[in-house]
Amino acid sequence: MKRFIEHHELARDERFIRQDNRQATILASLPDDVDVIVNALEPFSDMLEQVIRGTAAEPLFDEYGPGFLITIINEPLDPEAPAALTRLLLRMHGIFVGELQALEGAARSLWDFPEAPWEFKMNMARQCWDEGRHVQIFEKLITHLGGEVGMFPEATFLFECACSDDPAMRVAGVNRGLEGLACDVFRDMIRYAHKTGDEIMEQAIDYVLADEITHVRFGSEWVREFTKGDPEYLERTQAFRREVDKQFSLGGARSDREDAAIPIAMKDRIEAGFTQEELDELKELSGSGPSKDTLVQAAAVLRERHHAKKAAASQEVAS
């Protein structure tokens, strides 16, 4: 068995549909400019449509066009919003596949780094069990909400971005970047579950969040240990983590902005070992994407063009 695999090698059963990661990662590099965002996302329209046809996201694509990603990702979950359940399931399914990739990332760390210290292996092994349970928990929560595994396409960009071939960067990417994002998302989901009175969801995710804080702590400790006495290596590792954090901020959807869809879980992150300096940095880099107004305008343009395209196509068929 070889060391190090690519994200496209992650094995899935026949229920899963794979989505091109470029659509997910492009959001992180967009400037605060409506035209640039529209021009960047419009070319993905056909590709996106192909992947989404037949999945539960099809009505959302029909309604919003290629801008549906920015519309959905950047809006906070609201039980009163249109298509609230589909949005909730979309997020829940995204978390489910994220947990799968976290399991795979932690497990590969055991094989990819055979010379790593034993305590590191013990931490990764423990994480495998935890992530395996999280996959089961979110599969059950999807069912609890009336959905099913495979109802939305899966982007494997979490694994792609976080799984470096270097051990310090691997834990920085998986345990601090990916698991840090998980802390933010889960704190938000707990708030949502509390608001809607869903005690099953609230309690289950509260336990998951407790595990994730432990995993981030593993990451914080092992980055320190792996880079001990080598400030240049530490800086490269921190730069990698910043890059991952930028990607995982999804163009500001996860940020410290007032209207962020997923606020940064500051208290949980401090408990997990992030320093105030790192958190200030995260606030800055996650909020540096396009503003909410820009995204709303871009989504409106994309939606308008999408409907115009559809109308032209049906007119052509009719004639």
């Binding site: 090698e9 094995a11 059963d13 034993w118 092994a125 069990w129 935890d130």
Partner: protein, 227 residues
């Protein structure tokens, strides 16, 4: 008046006078005898640790390339329990005069067993779940259970009791792993062709394991049986 010695916390507390009823307990009939001395047990524990660590690592490698979700999540738990087994063996080593730094020092009994472990770890692609699981759960783990039980029977029951305690706990877990894996493999091998794949894989690896002498390298000397 009985001549039997009854237990006390120190030598001067041992008595020969007639016990009162609370002390009228059956005599410990175990004898101070075991097949392995401290050095031999330490070597075997190192061998056991080596096998457990590699099993944990190869399962970690496979999780991403196995498409069946219940197998992925099931392996997550097994990885942790196997890591704990390796850890327990490692913690026993300093107690067997291997030095405090010995906790992470597993070692194969010989090169042939190390090669066998690599053969078990070899399957890689997503269509090889049967081959992956068969190597571990039809060949290696049943062999380990037999060798662990053999050690428990043959070692000094009193002097080496800490190793026995560790092995008892690990064997209990391993049996649960086998129950899980048999259910999974039976489901995966749903027709004759797939069952044949499982049989061929098990036969090939069993032969290699036998030739290596097993986890302690002593099978050819008549110590231990093979599945």
């Amino acid at each position: 008046m009985s001549d039997r010695m009854y237990p006390g916390l120190g030598p001067d507390e041992r008595t020969t006078f007639a016990p009162y009823s609370a002390f009228d307990i059956p005599e410990d009939l175990r004898e101070l005898h075991g097949r392995y001395d401290v050095v031999a047990t330490a070597k075997r524990v190192r061998n056991f640790r080596y096998a457990e660590e590699w099993m944990m690592m190869m399962m970690g490698g496979w999780v991403a390339t196995i498409p069946e979700i219940p197998v992925k999540t099931g392996l997550g738990k097994l990885i942790w329990e196997t890591a704990q087994a390796a850890d327990e063996f490692g913690k026993r080593l300093p107690e067997l005069r291997c030095g405090r730094k010995a906790v992470d020092s597993g070692e194969p009994p010989n090169n042939a067993f190390a090669d066998f472990i690599q053969s078990v770890a070899e399957p890689e692609t997503p269509d090889l779940t049967i081959e992956k699981l068969t190597g571990l759960f039809d060949v290696l783990i049943p062999h380990l259970i037999e060798m662990y039980e053999l050690h428990m029977q043959e070692t000094d029951q009193i002097s080496d009791a800490p190793t026995i305690e560790i092995l008892e706990h690990i064997v209990r877990k391993k049996r649960r792993h086998l129950e899980w894996s048999q259910e999974v493999l039976d489901r995966l091998c749903e027709n004759d062709e797939l069952r044949e794949r499982r049989r061929v894989r098990a036969d090939t690896l069993s032969k290699e394991l036998r030739e290596s002498g097993g986890v302690t390298g002593t099978l050819e000397a008549g110590r231990g049986v093979l599945n």
